[in-house]
Amino acid sequence: MATITEALPLTKQAPQTGIMSWVTTVDHKRIGILYTSTAFAFFLLGGLMALIMRVQLTQSNLKVLSPELYNQLFTMHGTTMIFLFVIPITVGLANYFVPLMIGARDMAFPRLNALGYWLILFAGLVMYSGFLTGDVAAAGWTGYTPLSELRFSANRGIDLWIVGLLLLGASSIMGAINFLVTVWRLRAPGMTINRLPLFVWATVVTSIMVLFATPMLTVGLITLLLDRQFGTGFFALEQGGDPLLWQHLFWFYSHPAVYIMILPAMGIISEVLPVFSRKPIFGYSFVAWSSVAIGFLGFLVWAHHMFATGISQGVNTFFMIASMTIAVPTGVKIFNWIATLWGGSLNFKPPLYFAIGFLSMFIIGGITGVMLAIVPFDWQVHDTYFVVGHLHYVLFGGSVFGIFAGLYYWLPKMSGRLLDERLGKLHFWLMLLGFNLTFFPFHLLGLLGMPRRVYTYGSGLGWDLWNLISTIGSFLVGLAVLVFVYNFTVSIVLRRGAVAGPDPWEGHTLEWATSSPPPPYNFETIPGVHSRRPLWDQRHPRIAAETELAYE
């Protein structure tokens, strides 16, 4: 019996460089880069729309934008940030790092993976194509019926929005299946469930949520499209439909979507904090299983968006209790993260700055979230700027700070270059300041009675000052993002950043066991895993032998 010593010939040589190599790639790392960079481009667009809106709201009775354009902008801002930025960028990071972290050579279904990415890009182009003809959705990212029905939104914008979201939903489901199969089947020897990095845990829980939640949104979108295009009446009162049905379908997806957006960021934090504290995560099992608890409870809270719709007090009470209960596993996570820092040897690099930024801002979003679950208080502040403040503390203070922590942490692995540290810290402080100046006043505005989604407001209501401060803050956030873009361009695109080497942070997990960037096959030999922190153990064999193994 002869041993095969030559490489198997490829059926057809795939291009290795140039644009075609990116178009045809099925490498999870390249697809991860495509996802991340496309999502970041949409982040810039969504942010630009936010700045234009802030200009319009700087003072009362301004006429910078027409009501129609303002309504289009806030609709597309929300849709973009949720569906084209936060979700795809976390999918992109997971695409790049889940296979590396579990010691696999690629995702389980590489071609499905590529399809998932291209659907995102096309979905974004479909939605944005309306700007060429003025056919842009203007019913809010929530697209409530009957406002989104043909009778009240006659232009094609809503149709483009629906088709875009349907493509995104398909992409999400493909990604979720791929992640689950990959983690289930392709773990390196010794990588038991109990040793999975917490970012992988978060990806698994997120994928399960995507699988259960997305079909409900898809059903809602298809029926709305049928109503608009073929005259069915699922949500039309005159035809025996019910406009309220949409809210149930929509929120059954869109509340879990909040956790789909925050859990991956929590996963990033759970990787960054231990590495930069030089300690293991405090309470691995609690952190992992609290994700599962959040994922489960996340399906039982959707009607807390509907307290004012006239559903019965019994139903309101149920959803209030379920919503508040989520504070328990969330609180557990926060305490475990703080305990991870506690007694550590904190290495203040940009990823740690942003991870701590996540923690401190997410605490505020979590607290206001519990307040909003209180039904009578929600009757007052629902659909006001208080809610807008809350959601930005969760999704910007939480997800976006977490995503930047992930980018500073992992971009050196993806590119082989370190980002400039001083610019990274400048980015952090500008963003923290700008973020709080922009969004903290939103809580006050809500408590002063300002409803959300208004293109203008009257003078003499006491809302001008806080809106002015918010607008100033929003431009600071814009400046902070420009600092990042500059840093990225100089350090990574122009390759002037310091060479990262395989493991610039003294990482714990397997992605740091290979070169930066990793070769197409990831690892020369698939590593064996004996603990939760295989790389830490290599560096500290003596301590590892004493403590690490005892804790599984």
Binding site: I356, V375, F377, D383, G458
Partner: protein, 340 residues
């Protein structure tokens, strides 16, 4: 009693905070202050504010403790030496169980407090005045079925009395909200929601549609006018009367122009051929301080500009531009302002 005193003390603190905020606000012109849920003027809004006052301080407590721990650990555990290896602590089950129970207790307390106030909220007594609140793109219709009154954008209620509201919509979803008088209730086509409104003292209360409802959601505002029972009764009598006959020449010409133009297709003026049902009832138009979704003050120049080109003042409004000469516009303004 002591619990009561405790809550009152919280209010004083809250008032100090609010006052500090208010001092930063340029002097209000049209209204006494911001339409804030924190300056309640009804029993319901007060119950909600009281609940908020307790929740606010619990939230502040949680915030201070958790952020304090975070800030302390960030300052205290800064790396001292590059080679430092801290104690590799993997967790502690008793500690983790403790901080699972702690938030559970806080949340349970909040639930109980909330359920207690929910029990007392919106206990609507029978035999009260009833108003049908109907949301339209982008104005509010108020009908008093027992009194035979139909009006728009300004809801009149007697001070102290609880008024039952039946909230509906003829087109998309709106939400009726007057912060100082209580929480919001959605107006959903095909669903009738019931709530109640009450004001403890006379005054004008600003409100606004709170559910995004299309192009002019921002200018779908509400004024609630709470007056002492006698004044309310006077208002009722005035509203029940037929439209005033035009008394001067301009108003008479205005009436003629109105009745011979497209206006009557949408508007009703009781006792005249104008019986349209799409736009607001104008029978006592001039008795209202504002018009077009409580967005503009009822003043001759505003009204003339509005009739000349509604789209210029409120882009997207369903009121079309009607072809009228300047004289006709001025006459119609005179007529409408005579409809006290």
């Amino acid at each position: 009693m002591s619990a009561q005193g405790h809550i009152v003390r919280h209010h004083r603190w809250l008032s100090v905070v609010l006052l500090a905020i208010a001092l930063l606000i340029p002097t209000a012109t049209a209204f006494a202050g911001p339409p804030s849920p924190l300056t309640p003027a009804s029993t319901e809004a007060t119950i909600i504010r009281d609940l908020y006052a307790v929740v606010f301080w619990i939230a502040v407590g949680v915030f201070v403790i958790v952020e304090g721990l975070l800030v302390y650990s960030v300052i205290r555990f800064r790396r001292q030496h590059p080679e430092e290896v801290p104690v590799q602590l993997h967790g502690s089950t008793p500690v983790e169980v403790a901080w699972t129970i702690a938030p559970a207790i806080i949340v349970a307390v909040l639930m109980l407090l909330t359920l207690r106030s929910m029990r007392t909220l919106y206990q609507i007594p029978s035999g009260t005045i009833q108003v049908e609140v109907i949301g339209h793109q982008w104005w509010w219709e108020f009908r008093y079925p027992d009194l035979g009154i139909t009006t728009a954008n300004e809801l009149h209620i007697p001070v102290g009395e609880m008024v039952r509201l039946r909230i509906e919509s003829v087109d998309v979803i709106h939400s009726f909200w007057v912060p100082e008088l209580g929480g919001k209730t959605d107006a959903i086509p095909g669903h009738t929601n019931t709530t109640a409104i009450q004001a403890m003292k006379a005054g004008r209360y600003h409100g606004q549609c709170a559910e995004f409802c299309g192009a002019q959601h921002a200018q779908m505002r509400i004024e609630v006018v709470a007056s002492p029972p006698a004044a309310f009764q006077q208002w009722v009598e005035n509203q029940k009367a037929a439209a005033a006959a035009p008394s001067d020449e301009a108003a008479r010409r205005g009436q003629q122009a109105f009745m011979s133009s497209a206006c009557i297709g949408c508007h009703t003026i009781a006792g005249t051929p104008a019986q349209g049902k799409i736009g607001p009832d104008l029978t006592h138009f001039a008795s209202r301080r504002t018009f077009a979704g409580a967005s503009f003050e009822t003043a001759p120049q505003n009204l003339a500009a509005w009739i000349r080109d509604p789209q210029a003042l409120k882009p997207g409004t369903l009121m079309p531009k009607v072809d009228l000469s300047e004289e006709q516009i001025n006459d119609i303004v005179a007529y409408l302002l005579s409809l006290k």
